[in-house]
Subunit: 330 residues, 3 copies
Amino acid sequence: MISYSLEDLSKHISATLIGESNQDFTGLNHLESASANQVSFIGSSKYTKLYAASQAGAVVINENLKHLVSGEIPLLLVPNADLAMAKLLSLYEPQSPVFETAISPQAYIHPTARIGADCKIGPGCYIGANTVLADGVTLYPNVTIMDECQIGTQTIIWPGTVIRERSQIGAYCIFHNNVSIGADGFGYRPAEDGSGLVKIVHIGNVIIGNGVEIGANSCVDRAKFDSTIVGDGCKIDNLVQIAHNCILGRCCIMAGHSGLAGSVTLGDGVIIGGSASIKDHTTIHSGAIVAAGSGVMGDVAAGKTVLGYPATDSRAKLKEWAAVRKLSKG
Amino acid sequence: MISYSLEDLSKHISATLIGESNQDFTGLNHLESASANQVSFIGSSKYTKLYAASQAGAVVINENLKHLVSGEIPLLLVPNADLAMAKLLSLYEPQSPVFETAISPQAYIHPTARIGADCKIGPGCYIGANTVLADGVTLYPNVTIMDECQIGTQTIIWPGTVIRERSQIGAYCIFHNNVSIGADGFGYRPAEDGSGLVKIVHIGNVIIGNGVEIGANSCVDRAKFDSTIVGDGCKIDNLVQIAHNCILGRCCIMAGHSGLAGSVTLGDGVIIGGSASIKDHTTIHSGAIVAAGSGVMGDVAAGKTVLGYPATDSRAKLKEWAAVRKLSKG
Amino acid sequence: MISYSLEDLSKHISATLIGESNQDFTGLNHLESASANQVSFIGSSKYTKLYAASQAGAVVINENLKHLVSGEIPLLLVPNADLAMAKLLSLYEPQSPVFETAISPQAYIHPTARIGADCKIGPGCYIGANTVLADGVTLYPNVTIMDECQIGTQTIIWPGTVIRERSQIGAYCIFHNNVSIGADGFGYRPAEDGSGLVKIVHIGNVIIGNGVEIGANSCVDRAKFDSTIVGDGCKIDNLVQIAHNCILGRCCIMAGHSGLAGSVTLGDGVIIGGSASIKDHTTIHSGAIVAAGSGVMGDVAAGKTVLGYPATDSRAKLKEWAAVRKLSKG
């Protein structure tokens, strides 16, 4: 079991330590649930009232909240308790799942595929023709990578994920379970004989930058031509849809169940809230925020926050909601 | 082919039988589609007009609707036809898919994993280090269970499902296809050098109670610390997102495409309608109902029904909608 | 590398060629990104201004836009440039992923399964008891097909997809990654002892017609009894939910994240926009359109377009939205 002294913890987050303890600290927890060998935290004044009754062995607290608590539990004063907690969590990171052998004999690797040094490939994985894994790639069991793909160094792919032909994945990415990268985009044209719909061939691919994380059961479709692009550092949550020919800039965030229709462009640092959806061919410029649940039907200017369905400026939308409430009570 | 006499069926649902039949009944169907060897049902007065023309061999009907039908087809009178039908369906349950061998030689089982008595494990399954399967667990083909997990007795897991490290799954659960349990929660912090986003390590796990059913392609993320908890008897539909540190009480229902953001708490017996989404850190108290499509942005009191986006008391929301309709018509 | 002369391209789309070129054309691209060996296109007057500066080797253009451009780049005049582009894309379709052996020895095929001529089955696939694959079916790696299923001729199934017991899949279908077909519908009844919810057994199946395409991570549940039916030529995008006992007519389109609750009926040619959801037991009649993001709570007449949440006639809804905006501005 991983454990640290209070001094170790304090040093790791550059805290000012008030009080002392001989406890071995083995983890973190909420104020209400923490036990004597766990450290807890107070990052907002609404939690200070829980301090006195907590069983925690120590509490990380924002410096400016210190005057709101009094009691026996040692305090670790920091400018930002939430940030300090994020750092402490990394101290307690459990060991990753183990591989009995680095390259499982129960994986299928096409003879033309090239596997870099120090890769790990679990049972049930499939690696197609001419696919290239850079050094240090980890494929947990039952990952499928089709033909002509490239996977960058140190990228980690969890079970059930499928990467389709011609996809290019950057370095230091993490793809969680059952992700789908590079399936055909969704496009049809009416058959000339009126008999139905004819599939539009998607000859493009998907390009994912470095340091991208993609959540479980999310999808990124390949482009009609050219590439669907997810920029460096983007963080995509679970069950997210990114359609063909979308282009995401650097460090965008898309929360669970959000979706981009075809050919949507996101600038850098765009934040898309949970369950929000964006109309095809629109542009959300850098730094814009789309609030959870919104349905965006047009371009959004840089730095702007939009809300609602149809999405508009968030303050305007809040006024609309208030006006409707008032009207209905009328 | 499974078949029953009319008397058998009547006995099984404790019905009062009116009429008789020598038919072997081999299944159930709607009034319009049923044939002479199928039983049909009438649970609401809007279906009584279909009785006369039906080809069904017998009809289960609510006692209080009997006076609304007249004809030749034998009737099975019960207090609640829908409930009776649910019971009849269990008589006709087809055989589950077969295993040629109980533990497939094409499965990978880590030497330190422990497999209980009478487990079935299909080809392509992966069971990681120190994972423990209780007695009678069924893993259909291509299920992946990573390290240090526990799976309770009689639990059934369908193909493509991935259970990540340290998850604890109860007894008598059913997980459908391509479910993702225990992936990292979605949390980042700004890098101190301003270069982007740094991943927050999620050292917690997922705990699923007994008798929980989780639909295809749904996701339950693991906690930042402590546990994401799904209580006994919860029923989760397809494509549902349950984020890190959510806590669901007993017997909650979440319909398709619904989602809980991080640290949402549901009491007991909460019902979340399809495509509804719930803001992070909110609490939906016991017995509350969130109507389909709603976007909930704050706590919901016990027993209350909320509707709309933003979600409010359902009657208030219906008034708002009516007021807007009236307003737009001038 | 696939390449064509300008004359070849012109002939393929029956264009009127203005200008000439000795270039080998190796692909297609946007006006801004195209290089000298790529053909580009102008299907709307808003793109004509990009013509002069483009590096494209040729441009497909709507005949009626010709007078809006002047320059050196050869033109291919057609009635509809978007349609012509769709046809050109098929010329450049890359080779499909290769199979080292037609039927992988690393696939599991139950002894009672029947495999037609010219099928391809990748490593890690599972084919259950009594399942029948018609001629020319392609299963890419790690596809799972449970017992008693039928798969029609020339159907292609991509990795991670799971088809559950008793499903019947038509000919010429394409299922992308991690699709779930035939899991239990979502239905429960209160236990008589009040202890919780009892599962309703779903004895029905799924029937998918011919020429159906289903996107990554989408789900079609099996019926309580009878069948969930997806008609010929339907095109389903990613992350779509089709619940038990839904019936879709011919050539319906459902965009990403849309969902049908239980027992919804779609006529022929119905279009469901992205993230739209439809209440259980409703009927959307032939040719109706449900706009993106809508929440439909009642039947929709043939040919009608509905919008919003709650969804109503689209023009009426736009008036409601305008009225609210005006109201909020006082």
